[in-house]
């Protein structure tokens, strides 16, 4: 295999060498979940790939999330279509690799703390069933059969067998490793994109802290920083950071068996409120830790730890799983969801800047949606008819200045 890119597989922290332009079929900006998935499907399509990453593999949002593949928090619509499609990609196209990233089809249990909330859950389940989601109503007295350690006072629940979880950092790293086996693929870490190379409106490459690289296509997979990259092409992609914290417990024997969250979570994901919202989302991991979410607030890229937020999350978790009260929190982390004001991903070619593609804006669903989004994007790029119409996600929907939501 001859490499189109004579680059080392890893990048020492030495000053950049000569800045002679180097070329790849596809340049991917960002080595997170979306960037890695795009690299993998591009390599699978026979394209040579260069990934340019400001930090390290999965060092942004991908290492600060819970690794969810959810259908339970969706209603009929384009995002659900994408979600169901992506489920198929994870479970079929990538089936053989599932253990590499600890894919666990554990199912999700959405719980209600009041009779009203339980009734709302049942209504939602009816609509979701019509839309193709598998969901079972769970009566109050059946809940402990799913979760023996849960608060016995809950009034009802719904079970979603399709909900799954994976370890997103391993997923990103392995997809990049796999891409290398399929096509010439290079990764530049600690390399910041400082500008885009333009020929008229066209985007033909990237300028980086290590020199210039030209590409047949440039994919903006910069996560919550996607708007910065878009601005380099003088186009607007209104992706904004929405901060979330996750608390991590001490390693425990299996205590939480499914992804468990309160019905209010669905409302929170669909909300555009910039203020703080919390709703309990609890799940175990193969490492034994229990991950406790969730919070959402629009505070820019402020990483300052907020005790009021952590306390609120702790209260909600302790209420849902009283057995966790005495357990230790070992650490917590903060991450930034790539939030898009219309709650739809930004996926596909940007006709305002030909040659530039976007893969992002999935807010809190990026891990689950990454495989499907990437496959569709690459199908579109190589001129195949995408398995699912991605025009609802087109970046072209952002006419200049129409989103002043900053």
């Amino acid at each position: 295999m001859t490499s189109a890119l004579p680059l080392p597989p890893t990048t020492p922290r030495v000053p950049a060498g000569p800045t002679t332009a180097q070329r790849a079929d596809v340049i991917v900006i960002g080595a997170g979940a979306l960037g890695a998935a795009c690299a993998y499907f591009a390599a699978r399509a026979g394209l040579s790939v260069l990934i340019v990453e400001r930090g390290q593999i999965a060092s942004g949002t991908t290492s600060a999330c819970e690794g969810n593949l959810l259908v339970s928090d969706k209603e009929a619509g384009h995002e659900l279509d994408l979600s169901l499609y992506s489920q198929r990609v994870w479970r079929e196209d990538l089936a053989e690799f599932q253990r590499l990233w600890e894919f666990e089809s554990k199912g999700g249990l959405v719980v209600a703390r009041t009779e009203t909330s339980a009734a709302n859950l049942r209504d939602l389940a009816v609509r979701q069933r019509d839309a193709g989601i598998q969901v079972t109503d769970v009566a109050a007295e059946e809940i402990s059969g799913f979760e023996p350690n849960i608060n016995p006072e809950l009034r009802g629940a719904a079970f979603y067998p399709q909900d799954a979880q994976l370890q997103p950092i391993l997923m990103a790293a392995h997809l990049i490793r796999l891409a290398r086996t399929l096509s010439p693929t290079s990764l530049l870490t600690n390399t910041e994109v400082t500008g885009l190379i333009r020929e008229g409106d066209r985007v033909t490459g990237v300028r980086t802290s290590r020199g210039d690289y030209s590409g047949g296509a440039v994919i903006n997979a910069a996560g919550p920083w996607a708007s910065t990259i878009a601005q380099m092409a003088d186009v607007s992609v209104p992706v904004l950071p929405r901060r979330g914290f996750v608390l991590v417990t001490e390693p425990l024997p299996k205590t939480v068996f499914h992804k468990v969250y309160a019905g209010e979570y669905v409302a929170a994901t669909l909300s555009s409120d910039g203020g703080l919202q919390t709703s309990p989302v609890i799940e175990g991991t193969p490492a034994g830790t229990v991950l406790i979410g969730s919070s959402r607030e629009r505070v820019g890229f402020d990483r300052t730890s907020s005790l009021p937020v952590l306390r609120q999350m702790a209260r909600e978790a302790a209420d849902l799983f009283p057995v966790l009260r005495k357990k230790k929190i070992m650490r917590f982390y903060a991450g930034f969801r790539p939030y898009c004001p219309d709650h739809l991903p930004v996926l596909g070619h940007d006709s305002r800047a030909p040659g530039l593609w976007h893969a992002g804006g999935h807010e809190g669903a990026g891990i689950g949606l990454s495989a499907g989004s990437a496959k569709l994007l690459i199908q579109s790029m190589v001129g195949e008819r995408p398995d699912l119409d991605i025009t609802p996600f087109t970046p072209d929907r952002f006419a200049e200045n129409s989103y002043a939501d900053r």
Partner: protein, 101 residues
């Protein structure tokens, strides 16, 4: 300073129900060590025995259950008379326990 007792009577702690002598001021880890007990929990993955390692509260290897409180550091906890210690870090208290690995 309090007045010295010339020969303080040995305390007794229990380890998995067995009495273990302890001198006043000793830690649980020290009392177990003197009783010839060097490990009191098994690791989650490989079931390897663990006891004192850093000895000063840093490594958390020496976790056990003390007076019903799980995950206590034996190297720090005082072996006061009547202290009850259980091997294992206390994760067994959860229903449907057992590791998933």
């Amino acid at each position: 300073m309090p007045t010295a007792e010339p020969e303080p009577a040995p305390n007794t702690i229990t380890f998995d129900g067995e009495p273990i002598p302890a001198r006043p001021g000793q830690t649980v880890g020290a009392a177990l060590t003197e009783a010839g007990i060097r490990s009191w929990r098994e690791t989650r993955k490989n079931g390897r025995p663990r006891g004192l390692f850093c000895g000063i509260g840093v490594c958390y290897d020496c976790l056990l259950t003390i007076n019903g409180q799980s995950n206590q550091r034996a190297c720090l906890a005082p072996a006061e008379d009547g202290t009850s210690c259980e091997s294992g870090s206390g994760e067994e208290g959860l229903r449907d326990g057992g590791t998933d690995e």
